[in-house]
Symmetry: C2
Subunit: 370 residues, 2 copies
């Protein structure tokens, strides 16, 4: 085997496929990248048995071949080579030599026969969404997905599409975030994708509005971009019927500057009791929101003028839940809808239904004790 | 007590004094910053009992007073306030209220009576050096100071001054780095300052060529900049007579591009054997330096043309020692002087004696085994 490729191009490709390498594995070959040189391209594959990434790039192939090299070592070496053509040669002893200018590395390879094949997904159904938009949608919902292994159905992001609408939803039992967008699509589908797959996917999506194809079977899903594919299993357990927990109407509504609110919550989270969550109490009264946080370290009080509709009320939140929701919203102004201190609060855009964040309040008694 | 200060000014001051806060301490008050409001200034003090930092800044004092607040919490709060005037008020219950715009924090304070007083250093001897130059000199030598607690005399940087020359030296038994500069000074002095004090000092030295005053007694040293002082004890054990280990003459001399050499050593360090240092073997022959590294992961070979004087030779080094020395040198070209594969190698400027790095070679047999 013998091929040559520009160092810069190779780095780009390795950065993409390396995301699929298993960090914790007892199977040594899963720490590797499989590289196949054929015709005028390189095919690179990584997998942790749950998620697989397949990537293609062009190269000058002089002799075809295939090998599996340690991903971390290979990336480390290529990253530290000069921006010049890099030549890969594999000899009959299955040793790989990487040459660039006056530099030459010889590496021991991993057993390519042990490298698992990615499943071949024969998907009949698919739809498309701009890549950068999908990346943004993941970012704005994935933090809400559960990390609680006892709730396996929530350990993923819900992807739903119906009548030109695409929605991503994350739920963890205390909060929920969804993000909508309109796409050109006639099929109706709903599936749950593991958080890890969605996180890796968002890391490899390039900043382009080119379409990503999302194709699926009963068991698998394939996200295809230009020259890269990510394949994941679907979570089979049914997702929570979250529409039922969204309050249908709200009596109290507040419109407030997102940045101001975020800064307040950020400051409140400085007052942490060891081992406890930071709590924040809101008193809404006469168009003013008074926010307080109190622990054994001290106390914070902030007053923010708001556009209030409905009665005065008091409510308390886990400051982290508020902060994580406010952090991913890009609007300058937001609307918060509340019913009472026991019912979930909703954060929405001032207009439209592009996104929704639901946060369960903390019982006031618990907030006082903290 | 009551005073007001601009948030931006306060952040600058806190960033400086916070470096002196004890990170690991059983004495809670050492996690604090002592702030004294008097006349038209604030005096801020932190100490870990070995090193003390004292800093002054102007503020609008309405009522004098003194308090000790948790350094991390105080800095965290001030950092997250808007860029506006911040007012501190301490009530008779020894509670501190910090107000800024619509925001108010109330903090519990630490016991100011327990805060240790910094030693008063009655220094008769002192000299001056530009602050930014001294910072650079610390950076270029401190990595060589020993971290081996069994060699207490080497756990510091040697500061020597004689006849308008100032030298900083770090030694750890395997390598040495010194850096010279000329200063306007007639006194002769030599002392050893703990690495921790030098590291903290380099972190608080501003980027200015204004003079730093270095004053000392038998036990203490005081570094004074504009409105900040750092006080440290001196290490009393005698420093190694390092002049004796510097080779007086060298038979083999190589002049080489520093960046090229650094990149090679950096690449060689990718091939690490678990739990062992990365070794690099050099073969100097006919004006070419062939560098190799070999572990169970693979092998690297690089060839670099050099300006060679003297015979051909082979020698091996710990790659990390080479890398750390080459990283702090700013010259484009350097000279490496060697005698044989058992004697220390010297890295020097092509001209002059601004700095010197000495590195002990690794025995070739050990290098082969690695």
């Amino acid at each position: 085997m013998r091929f040559t490729i520009e160092q810069k191009e190779l780095i780009k490709s390795l950065t993409t496929v390396q995301k699929g390498v298993s960090s914790k594995t007892t199977l040594p070959v899963l720490k590797g990248i499989l590289i196949e040189a054929a015709e005028n391209y390189l095919k690179m594959v990584t997998t942790d048995l749950e998620i697989g990434i397949e990537h293609f790039t062009t190269a000058q192939i002089e002799e075809e071949g295939i090998f599996v090299a340690d991903a971390k070592l290979l990336s480390g070496i290529i990253r530290k080579l000069p921006s010049r053509p890099v030549t890969f040669v594999m000899d009959s002893q299955q040793q790989l030599t990487i040459s660039c200018d006056h530099i030459s590395f010889t590496l021991h390879l991993l057993e390519k026969e042990e490298f698992p094949e990615l499943p071949i997904v024969m998907a009949e159904n698919s739809f498309k969404v701009p890549q950068d938009l999908f990346k943004e949608m993941i970012h704005q919902t994935v933090f809400c997905a559960s990390q609680d292994e006892t709730k396996p159905s929530l350990l993923g992001l819900r992807v739903e599409t119906k009548k030109n609408l695409l929605r991503l939803t994350g739920v963890d039992g205390f909060r929920l975030a969804y993000r909508n967008c309109s796409i050109d699509n006639e099929i109706e589908a709903a599936f749950t994708i593991p958080v890890k797959a969605m996180t890796e996917l968002s890391q490899i999506i390039p900043d382009t509005s080119d379409p990503m194809q999302i194709a699926f079977t009963d068991k698998q899903i394939v996200f295809s971009m230009d020259n890269t594919k990510l394949i994941s299993r679907r979570i089979e357990k049914p997702f929570i019927e979250y529409e039922n927990i969204l309050p249908k109407e709200s009596e109290i509504q507040v419109t407030v500057n997102r940045g101001t609110l975020y800064s307040s919550v950020d400051r409140a989270s400085l007052l942490v009791s060891e081992g406890k969550s930071s709590l924040m109490k809101w008193v809404l009264k006469n168009g003013e929101l008074v926010m307080t946080a109190q622990t054994q370290m001290g106390q914070m009080i902030e007053k923010v003028p708001v556009d209030q509709q409905g009665e005065d009320m008091e409510i308390a939140f886990n400051a982290r839940y508020l902060m994580e929701a406010l952090r991913v919203i890009e609007d300058e102004e937001i609307t918060i809808k509340m019913i009472n201190h026991r019912s979930p609060a909703i954060i929405e855009p001032v207009e439209g239904d592009r996104y929704l964040h639901l946060i369960l309040p903390v019982r006031m008694a618990a907030a006082e004790e903290a």
